[in-house]
């Protein structure tokens, strides 16, 4: 028996190291911080009509800020797929159908090389 600690032997069996584990724990911790940070903040901010309006505008603004830059910069296939999906949703109000329409559109366009 060498004097290598059991824990190090186990880590080697699992193909990892203390450094990698620490990195993963830091990544997970900072992600959880993001997950509950906004909720915690809203627990502690005094409510006001202005804050309520800001929060009301937030879901749409988050979606717009995610999707619009992608539609503008992501090439024609993504733009067309996003527009098709939104039109289907607007006309039929069926979200799964709209998702499928968008996915089929982008798959076809990507296969065509767009």
């Amino acid at each position: 028996m060498s004097d290598v600690p059991m824990s190090d032997v186990l880590l080697e069996q699992l193909g990892t190291s203390w450094g990698a584990l620490l990195a993963l724990v830091c990544m997970a911790a900072v992600t959880y911080l993001c997950r509950f940070g906004g909720v915690w903040l809203m627990d502690h901010l005094p409510p006001s009509p202005r804050l309520r309006r800001a929060l009301g505008a937030l879901p749409g603004s988050i979606i717009i800020s995610t999707v619009v830059p992608l539609g503008v910069m992501g090439g024609p296939a993504s733009l067309i797929a996003l527009v098709v999906a939104m039109i289907v949703m607007f006309k039929l109000r069926r979200d799964v159908l709209a998702l499928v329409a968008g996915m089929v559109t982008v798959a076809l366009l990507r296969q065509m090389g767009l």
Partner: protein, 247 residues
């Protein structure tokens, strides 16, 4: 959180958490699963390619559970970790996930009605997919918090499981881009935008968010455009005059 000053928590009437809601959450998540499975498998394949062990790849999927951040983190993965490289990967993961701070704030009106135990547990499972499904469900009058939990549990289990075949099959996993799988979340986001439209009072915040996010995307590398654009839209909303009563 028991000492929270929120008056609503003094006499807590928590949102129900039922099996019915739990199964509903799972069912609502099903249409998103094929895309999420390909994505999770792509992470597994990328992790194998980068030299992570299967154990490390699964830890990443199980603990971090945030696709975009996990994929980006692979570029910074090290064989030998230093304080600097650990800090760097942590900061990058934070930058990619900072949008969740705003997402959590945006759904606070529902989160705050969850019993503390459910709330902290479910926040661990909180990701783009159950966020957008939750926004929609709550807006349509749904209050059963089991929906959010059920969706999160299914997403987490799926994400963790598909990491394994992705890791083992490696280069056999198709590039998500070939079939447009990289667009699953953007498309479902775009679709859910339609029912969020409330007429004129929505127009200005959305326009501001669109312009600011595009400008920031051109000027700043990385994911800052989402957070900055969304904040700009929220501020525009705050500055607008009060609309007709509307919850």
């Amino acid at each position: 959180m028991q000492s929270s000053p929120d008056p609503e928590l003094k006499s807590p009437v928590y949102s129900p958490v039922t099996w019915t809601g739990f199964w509903l959450g799972m069912r609502l998540t099903l249409p998103l699963l094929p895309g999420i499975m390909v994505f999770g498998a792509a992470f597994g394949a990328g992790a194998a390619h980068k030299g992570l062990s299967l154990f490390e790849a699964m830890l990443s999927s199980g603990l971090v559970f945030a696709g975009a951040a996990q994929l980006v983190s692979l570029a910074l993965w090290q064989d030998h970790w230093t304080l600097g490289s650990t800090l760097a990967i942590t900061l990058v993961v934070f930058a990619v996930n900072a949008r969740m701070i705003l997402m959590g704030a945006a759904l606070h009106h529902w989160f705050k009605t969850a019993a503390p135990m459910w709330r902290w547990f479910s926040l661990y499972l909180f990701t783009d997919a159950n966020w957008i499904l939750g926004v929609r469900y709550h807006q349509d009058g749904g209050r059963d918090y089991g929906m959010f939990v059920g969706s999160g549990v299914l997403l987490w289990m799926t994400w963790l499981l598909v990491t394994v075949p992705g890791y083992l099959l490696g280069s056999l996993v198709p590039d998500p881009k070939t079939w447009g799988i990289d667009l699953v979340m953007p498309i479902i986001f775009a679709v859910m935008l339609i029912p969020l439209w409330k007429g004129k009072q929505t127009a200005l915040p959305w326009l501001v968010a669109a312009i600011v996010s595009i400008v920031v995307m051109q000027m700043v590398e990385g994911y800052a455009f989402i957070v900055v654009g969304a904040l700009a839209g929220a501020i525009a909303g705050a500055l607008m005059p009060e609309a007709q009563p509307d919850v």
